[in-house]
Symmetry: C2
Subunit: 452 residues, 2 copies
């Protein structure tokens, strides 16, 4: 078993020594991320594929240590609970996202942590483990992207297992050698390709990442198998294989929690279950409608043309310009923009319909939408969309959005968060959950584990 | 769910239409591979880490469909049986290898097939499914290597899940769409990095590959989740992400089973559990000893210097020139060569000792070994080692080996195979197993499943 290299030793030490008692900023953000995670997971809990998956996983049990599948009446072996909760929380693409990883943190990390959390665990320790996992994922993502994404990887699956392993190592207070081996065993399972976008296997990647980290944890704990401790070495290590990237220990130390990946570039959270690449455009449509159209008495029938302006390639993920189903519509700027301008709001149920509404089809056929890539290139942590609405009488209204509600610069208020949670379940359940979390990060996990 | 591209459609059709009734050559090779697989697995079945892993997996059950762990008194959920059998059969590095994949076929494929095989399944169908899986792995490996290996991937883990998926699709007679989705879901789980060599996680890659293929199979069968059907498309597909490689349907068709990857470049099988990169050198030592040293009355004490000549980088896997433990000695040309020249044979138990014998240490300290890279470059499916032994009285003897026993050009006889099997278990058990397989590929799996 090879010795620990300097990069790995540095990362292991950063994981082991992180203490967030003096970082209320990060703990508060982690709590928000947890509430958003619960809302995203519960919102998907009645989807037919999600229920079918839960039923099948319920046939896979351990002799002990089975865990609840969130929002389901079933338990399964811990790695399958992590698998299910990851899959479910990412199923609607309703969970948080971050720019450096170009993927999703919380779906993997909280699924991993909940699969091992005990009622006696301190909330502070769970949130600290989450922040540690997110920090590692964000830093690794920054090293690898954008190349990693462009080559065809889905980072939620490739980087996720390492974040999960870091979180587990932190929570379980593993030794340095155990931590390095857990990172190594999780890292050698990095997988997930972008060609799965648009199928159930894209959210499955979050589940697989969570399962792989948790199963690696159990395996190392129970069998004393070895994994090489030099996972981040600059000659043959994980970053070398995935991206031919070198890292430097002092650079890692200076970046760690300065100020923290969940704070900067920060987490994007969603009010509605559609692709985050459409959020700026939707917000611009909403503002144009409120500020210009409604006051002037214009309705959708008065609009000649809607132009969505993006930086080059910024709409790659929005690959359906003429979606036929609600599922495809999640990845369509046109469908999201149409809802905002024609209906005045986003209707989540439309994303679940087998076909899109007649009014939208007519608008498509009339050629009322257009995309342009005429905004300048932006840094990878910047999102920007401009919308121009041309009215039949010749008037034109534009709005450029960079900080829509849910973005790091314009985060959810407590009220918005409670509305998202209530929509996913019920007002009563939302109130109960929030009451239990009221004093976080104080207290233990006992109450929340009973409710999930 | 994206439509099937031409590459994927071609591969799916090749899987579905393969019929080996007129290919007794491939069926005979597949039977040999199965016997060798069983021997390799049983040989590892009492190793402490293997037993510990079996005990832990036995705590993970399904409500139904649990499967035997080979050589153990336990059952587990089918994906965990595949996981265990893959890990165990690769644990000693005693299983077959192939040049195009630059990795191991049978450890993954038979572990996958045994996890779903029913007593009523025809042996012909199992062996056909094996050949189909191996064919796909070999072809994909030829596309990706040597770059894939040089970048740091371990193909047993990356390519293995696709072979496993192809074998499962063939055995279960999946439809074209189901086959494409199973390949897709397995391929998006491709993982395993070469930096794990020398730790327990290297053999674990075989187990993980088998588990991932089997779990994907159950998931698709039971939940009707979707995976994109364009896994091999030339724009964003699996080969593109892993190796930026284009493939062409007519090329695939012309290569498929022409003559068959397990026939050419063919399978390398091992008589002893050490790295296959040392097999040619060991064989050359054996021949020098028998042909020159013994007839002239020379013993190890008379030898001044042993030189191992390789093509450039051909000894990369033999990374311990001064191994301290038996485990390191598996990857040492010097240790293997010393056994052959000093003891006259390979002693398997020496690879399990915590330290290497005194006599070997003295030989190392006396500087009696030397490696040179003075042979010309060779094609990737060629292995060659020359050994020169210099005796103290000034005489020199050389032998150049390219086709040692167990290589495709010099395959195991039935006798050698039965000796490997008997060594792994007992003469009686070997006879019983071989008697059951006597008429293969005729008959069903009923008898063999009872014995494993």
């Amino acid at each position: 078993m090879k010795e620990m290299d300097e990069n790995t030793a540095t990362i292991v030490e950063l994981i082991q020594t992180t203490n967030l008692i003096d970082r209320p900023d990060l703990l508060a953000l982690a709590k928000v991320a947890f509430i958003d995670y619960v809302a995203s997971t519960l919102a998907a809990s009645k989807e037919p594929k999600v229920v079918a998956t839960a039923q099948q996983l319920a046939t896979r049990k351990r002799v002990a240590h089975n865990r609840k599948l969130i929002g389901q009446p079933y338990e399964a072996a811990p790695e399958y609970a992590a698998f299910f909760n990851g899959f479910c929380s990412h199923y609607l693409d309703y969970d948080d996202a971050q720019a450096n990883i170009a993927g999703h943190f919380s779906t993997v990390l909280f699924s991993v942590l909940l699969s091992v959390a005990k009622p006696t665990d301190m909330v502070l320790d769970i949130l600290t483990a989450y922040v540690v996992g997110a920090e590692l994922e964000g830093l690794l993502g920054a090293y690898l992207n954008p190349q990693h994404k462009l080559v065809g990887w889905h980072s939620t699956g490739t980087i996720g297992p390492l974040g999960g392993a870091a979180a587990l190592a932190k929570l379980a207070k593993l030794t340095a050698s155990e931590t390095a081996q857990l990172l190594s065993l999780a890292g050698t399972q990095s997988a997930g390709m972008a060609f799965q976008a648009g199928s159930d296997t894209k959210p499955l990647h979050a589940g697989l990442a969570a399962r792989n980290a948790v199963f690696a944890f159990w395996l190392l704990q129970e069998t004393k198998l070895t994994a090489n401790q030099n996972v981040f070495n600059n000659e043959t290590g994980w970053l070398k294989t995935l991206g031919a990237v070198d890292i430097e220990p002092t650079q890692l130390q200076s970046q760690w929690l300065q100020p923290g990946q969940i704070k900067e570039p920060g987490l994007w959270m969603k009010l509605h279950p559609y692709c985050s690449a459409a959020i700026c455009g939707a917000s611009a449509c909403e503002k144009i409608r409120k500020q210009y159209l409604v006051p002037r008495g214009y309705s959708w029938a008065d609009i000649e043309r809607v132009t969505f302006h993006f930086p080059p390639k910024a709409d790659t993920a929005l690959r359906y310009s003429a979606p036929q189903s609600g599922q495809e519509g999640r990845f369509s700027m046109e469908f999201v923009g149409w809802q905002m301008l024609a209906l005045g709001h986003i209707e989540d149920d439309l994303f679940k319909q087998a076909s899109v509404p007649e009014g939208f089809v007519e608008s498509l056929q009339a050629g009322r939408f257009c995309r342009k890539h005429d905004l300048p290139e932006v840094a990878k942590d910047v999102r920007i969309t401009k919308v121009t609405v041309q009215v039949k009488d010749g008037q034109e209204f534009s709005y450029m959005e960079t900080a829509p509600l849910g973005s790091p610069a314009n985060p959810f208020t407590a009220d918005i968060l409670s509305i998202k949670l209530a929509n996913a379940t019920s007002t009563k359940m939302s109130e109960t959950l929030l009451a239990v979390m009221k004093d976080w990060p104080q207290g233990t996990m006992a109450e929340i584990l009973k409710l999930l």
